[in-house]
Symmetry: C2
Subunit: 343 residues, 2 copies
Amino acid sequence: MTDRKMLRVLAGERVDPPPVWIMRQAGRYLPEYRQLRTKAKDFMDFCYTPELATEAVLQPLRRFDLDAAILFSDILVIPDALGHRVWFVEGEGPRLDPLLDRESWTYGDPDQVVARLAPVYETVSRVRAAISDSTTLIGFAGGPWTVATYMIQGEGGDKDRCRRAAYARPADVDALLAVLVEATAQHLAAQVAAGADCLQIFESWSEGLPESLFERVIIRPTQALVARLKALGVTVPVIGFPRGAGALFGRYAQETGVAAVGVDTQTPAAFARREAPAGMALQGNLDPQLLICGGEALDAGVREVLAAFKGSPHIFNLGHGITPQAPPESLARVVELIRRGGD
Amino acid sequence: MTDRKMLRVLAGERVDPPPVWIMRQAGRYLPEYRQLRTKAKDFMDFCYTPELATEAVLQPLRRFDLDAAILFSDILVIPDALGHRVWFVEGEGPRLDPLLDRESWTYGDPDQVVARLAPVYETVSRVRAAISDSTTLIGFAGGPWTVATYMIQGEGGDKDRCRRAAYARPADVDALLAVLVEATAQHLAAQVAAGADCLQIFESWSEGLPESLFERVIIRPTQALVARLKALGVTVPVIGFPRGAGALFGRYAQETGVAAVGVDTQTPAAFARREAPAGMALQGNLDPQLLICGGEALDAGVREVLAAFKGSPHIFNLGHGITPQAPPESLARVVELIRRGGD
């Protein structure tokens, strides 16, 4: 395990140059991914077909010298496995039957999730068997609040209705979060059992919450999730990524129990360093838009990130997922620059 | 002037209970506003008709015991006065002819702005004559970056294209910001000459920027704007509102030269206090969604904000504009609770 550079960093070691992986590295910016995608009847089917999902994971590793593979799946497999059906509207994103339209909120038993998501764990095993011993394999899930927002309003976009639900129907929202914590813990533990080396919790909708609500719907459920993972015997490091947490980044890093924290584009490295516990690994945070620009702006951005996180444990990544418009050559350039220490 | 409570707070005095005004207090949540709106042929015409705009300012003051009136206008009068025509698509928001579609970026002379916006200053004078001596009159403009984003991409929404422009066409973007700084300074100075007691700069799109870009497109232009206002002889206090600045809130408060700073919903009062210069007045930051919820959740939210900002100069406000769905009764309740110190 110790030759997996990313795991050494997650354990608190500074490694130069830093290991690198890219959020959504298996994604639409790759022509071979777009080709592969046509083989599944829909996006959820893609996620649930181990042969296709494994191939999606491996595609970016063939092109780029990356330190980690990440499971190809979706944060919405949890509601789907809870019987809250998920579908994708082409070019718009996921849709669910919104809880807001229902008088009483019900969903399936979290204990059924692992049985229903068996194909996902098979993908994890296949990937582990296919990648090199020095490559870290990341399992993941959405954060409880982020997944809840899709279930509550039935789609992405602005989260005003979810905040209102949290204020006006506190018991319903808290019960939903508790179900998601349990289902997510079991789902993540099963990924580790299948071979994941570490885990990332994507709390992609951490923004816009007053502090008391942030504490209630982000910090406490994440604490419960991390504690439940421990109770389930999971010992691998957990990276929390509270995208948009802003001034509340420090509370997330200090209080949730995660081992490392992802830093979004607008959170300065120095601020993250100051606010996170001493020695905690930080991951991030190049602006994904720079990969579309390329050229001198991209090079300068990579150097800026390398310099900003220098001297403490760092995993290079973007501050948000890579976009479909990014040319693959830009990612090749990023990895090349990192390997050369920015020179 | 000293009986204007809000001005005392802006000068650094703690006043109990705190003065209160509400962003978008003249707005669609008021039935009389929706009625008034029908008298103008379009939204820009509404802004440019002193009789109608004055009435819009006065409507909320008749209903609620507010400490301040704010000019009724729009942040996009600046591009409009620069000859970059603005129109509104019903239910969607403003539209401009996007600079991104043009090979070379040109616009009118900032020196023509004040002449073209004469009706706006007439509104300021009419309002000052109509309101009580104890009511503070706030003039405003959009922050240079926020106005630039609308001009660059032609609409609101996600700002990815604007960030790319800032990276890929730095000279064009910086030249645009410089024009906006000059035009905005002249526009704000004219509002003060017409009777505004203080000014607010709405930097509504401060979010999502890496620190170096935040420094370049938000901090430096705002510094230049505040300095230019001084050079034009403006001595009234300027409130900066960097919505979404997150971890960068402190740099905005410390470095731009503003006299006071607006705090958005997700920025905790204690964080804002710690990051802003000692004694600087803070304004905010109730979640606007609570006004839609009403009831116990609203009362608890108001008490939380009062308690969080207690002990230092505070102007009560929302953390973002009031929404069209908010019942006016909720705002009446907010003001009542504040006047009673939360009891």
